[in-house]
């Protein structure tokens, strides 16, 4: 077991990601933040919390997307859906997709597909906390990265959040 981000580092990383998103989307005009269910939402909640300190809170358009019904492995296993909550149109918006760990890229592929059900965004960018860069199965890369790490398939990245897991850190498990 190895710690990738300690509690303090995680807090700083979330702040940095929020600032980077703002840097490229000044005052968040015409921008929508979309967290991916179930795990990415924990990160997007934190980032939105930071953004609220930096811009007029009512200017933030924040939604949650579940990609269960868009997966490409329906035949293999059954996945239970979580709630999607996007009460606004994404037509011509700049969308920032947020997930915790970028691994094979298949979740993001499904998310890009799912987003189109809410309109045609003018641009989609991707923000992740951890990028496992050597395990990609599709040509998908993040625009905002918390930390890039080199892993092998048998390893596992665990993101813990205080409210849910009691501690706050990112760890790498060998198994």
């Amino acid at each position: 077991m190895k710690t990738i981000l300690s509690e303090q580092q995680l807090a700083l990383t979330v702040k940095r990601l929020a600032h980077q998103i703002l840097e490229n989307n000044l005052s968040l005009t015409n921008t929508s933040i979309i967290g991916l269910q179930p795990r990415g939402v924990w990160l997007s909640n934190r980032i939105v919390q930071e953004l609220k300190k930096l811009v007029e809170p009512s200017a933030i358009e924040y939604g949650k997307l579940d990609i269960t019904f868009y997966r490409d492995d329906v035949r293999k296993s059954l996945h239970i859906a979580n709630a999607t909550d996007i009460p606004f149109s994404l037509e011509n918006k700049k969308v920032v997709l947020i997930d915790d760990v970028l691994y094979t890229g298949r979740t993001i592929r499904a998310a890009l597909d799912a987003l189109l059900a809410f309109g045609r965004p003018s641009k989609v960018t991707l923000c992740v906390l951890v990028d496992r860069r050597f395990n990609r199965e599709l040509p998908i890369q993040p625009d905002y990265t918390g930390k890039t790490i080199d892993t092998i398939i048998s390893q596992k990245v665990i993101v813990n959040w205080k409210e849910r897991d009691g501690s706050e850190e990112v760890i790498l498990l060998d198994s």
């Binding site: 019904f69 997966r71 035949r75 293999k76 059900a117 309109g119």
Partner: protein, 308 residues
């Protein structure tokens, strides 16, 4: 998590967790149906045949829409235009269809037990869309979904099922489901339309007085009088039935309380329910139809053929 059964033949075979899983999945599909694009690619590699050996408008359209919203390929079979008229047996018809690589069968039949028979002989997943006077599981599921949506729970809910209990598959499926989910059930109607021993067999209470049943319940699920299944007169006239057991606006107003009125359709207006009730403020009949698509999407999604 997955369903404990491979087919949906009846609510009788489901457990509490199955029912909860279907209802919570249906909630997510209901959200999908509010989106600008109401279609998801979940079942794009699945082919479904709708085998309707008995007439249907709502159920058939609801299933077909659910299948298309899930991106499944859809085949339709209607008795009137089929080879069954030439004497082909049910099993032959289905085996011929399955040899064209069909994954799921949605089936309605006038014989009770027809889908159960089929389930023993073919490998595809079967969804019962109503078999004779036995069960109509997706109707009970969408009824439960609508009750939960309107009143927030099923546990402890007081539900009256009113009318032709004897011939109604909707009634039987509803009773199984509501009892499993901890609701209290009263069946009300003329004695000739309520089977003997139903109270002992299904854990429900029988009430012959309509007003008493309505005074007691939170929800009244009113059934259609199924003249096509009654081969002997069980009450003297439709007019008399309406006078004794028809749901009237004045009667509901005289209760002086909140009540939710449901009906699985098609309604015989002026027989089991008057128009001012069906179209009035107590009725959630059209919500039931809307929810039907989401519930059927959930059932098909959870049963879609999987290698496991």
């Amino acid at each position: 998590m997955k369903l404990s059964t491979k087919h949906l033949l009846g609510i009788k075979d489901l457990n509490r967790e199955d029912i909860q899983l279907i209802l919570s999945t249906a909630e997510q599909f209901k959200e999908v149906l509010q989106r600008p694009v109401k279609k998801v690619p979940s079942l794009r590699d699945i082919t479904i045949v709708n085998l309707f050996y008995e007439n249907s408008t709502r159920t058939r359209m609801s299933f077909e829409l659910a299948e298309r919203r899930l991106s499944a390929d859809v085949l339709n079979f209607a008795l009137s235009s089929s080879s069954s008229a030439k004497g082909e047996t049910l099993l032959d018809t289905v085996n011929n269809i399955l040899s064209m690589k069909v994954d799921m069968v949605v089936m309605r039949h006038s014989a009770s037990g027809a889908p159960h028979f089929l389930a023993k002989h073919i490998p595809a997943a079967i969804v019962n869309a109503g078999d004779g006077i036995n069960e109509h599981p997706t109707q009970a599921l969408l009824d439960a979904f609508s009750m939960r949506e309107k009143l927030g729970k099923l546990e402890g809910l007081k539900v009256a099922i009113i009318g032709d209990i004897m011939h109604s598959r909707v009634a039987l499926s509803n009773m199984y489901l509501l009892r499993k989910m901890g609701a209290e059930v009263v069946v009300a109607g003329p004695p000739t339309l309520i089977p003997k021993y139903i109270a002992e067999a299904l854990g429900v209470r029988v009430e012959y007085n309509l007003k008493k049943a309505l005074q007691w319940c939170d929800v009244a699920n009113v059934l259609r009088i199924q003249l096509e299944r009654q081969n002997q007169p069980l009450f003297s006239s439709l007019r008399e039935y309406n006078l004794a057991y028809g749901i009237k606006r004045k009667l509901l107003e005289s209760l002086g309380k909140e009540i939710v009125i449901m009906h699985p359709g098609p309604i015989n207006r002026g027989v089991e329910m008057d128009s001012d009730v069906a179209d009035g403020p107590y009725s959630i009949i059209l919500n039931q139809v809307e929810n039907g698509v989401a519930v059927r999407m959930a059932v098909l999604y959870l049963l879609a053929n999987r290698e496991n």
